[in-house]
Symmetry: C2
Subunit: 169 residues, 2 copies
């Protein structure tokens, strides 16, 4: 419980600080998201090295994704991903019905616009983790209903282009 | 192990970001330290509320300090404070022979000047925690030898003035 809270509070401070320093320097929202995403990327890179220190080599991409859904997610967010779907061609949709960094937010629809800043760091976190496991990816997050804290993201392997990804999505 | 790493990596990113944004805005070192300290303060305030939710009321200041040394420190840094000294008049010296946020730094003397930025957040963390337990304090940190990662800090109750504090120190 304690560690959970520590990460959560620190994460909140980080977001606040990034957005506050953006106000002063007249940085736009998009750049804040990028900054948070980059920080997540570096943290993810570091974390995955620790996590996989004693893990046997992964068989394939799906194996990597399962590791992310179970071990990685449990370590960071204290719960597993609720649902993993894939088209077996490089697209993975992961669903977390109660994403921990969103559960602190009020359920109202008016806060939906604030969700992206609470997802950016994690997008980077997963992208960084995957990157150090040899899976280059584009990670996006979506929140449809806040109370249920549902969110999903898509990971794309190197072999399909961004255009295909957009079409498929 | 995982949580430890997460906090550590996130803490490092925070420091890097604060110092990077300071460079752009020509903010001096002192203000960066203050910013980190303030973030720690708010995190500490939040944390202590969670930690003490089911704890019986503290008897006195020393009791509070013991809680900080044991429970609080273990939750955040995975180890207890190694040594607690007090003059029973509001000064407490806590010693951690292997402070976790410093153990990642190289042991050389040339890195000693970088130590303060790795201590600022924790200074705030403890000050915030104590503040929400009703103990107003001034928290400072000192590193004498980096390899041993020795550090100590002094907490001053409301009843003695800053002048007395400086004299006693």
């Amino acid at each position: 419980m304690a560690d959970e809270a520590l990460f959560q509070f620190l994460h909140n401070e980080l977001i606040q600080y990034v957005y506050k320093s953006a106000e002063q320097g007249e940085m736009e929202n998009g750049r804040c998201i990028t900054k948070l995403e980059n920080m997540g990327f570096r943290v993810g890179q570091g974390l995955i090295e620790r996590f996989t220190k004693d893990t046997p080599r992964f068989k394939d991409e799906l194996d990597v994704m399962k590791f992310i859904c179970k071990d990685f997610w449990t370590s960071v967010f204290k719960k597993q991903i609720d649902n993993l779907r894939t088209n077996h061609q490089g697209i993975y949709v992961l669903q977390d019905n109660k994403f921990r960094l969103l559960t602190q937010l009020s359920a109202g629809k008016q806060y939906l616009e604030h969700a992206p800043k609470y997802l950016a760091f994690t997008c980077g976190l997963v992208r960084g983790g995957l990157s150090n496991l040899g899976v280059k990816s584009i990670v996006t997050a979506e929140v449809s209903v806040m109370p249920a804290c549902e969110w999903s993201f898509v990971v794309v392997g190197l072999r399909i282009s961004t255009a295909t990804f957009c079409k498929l999505k």
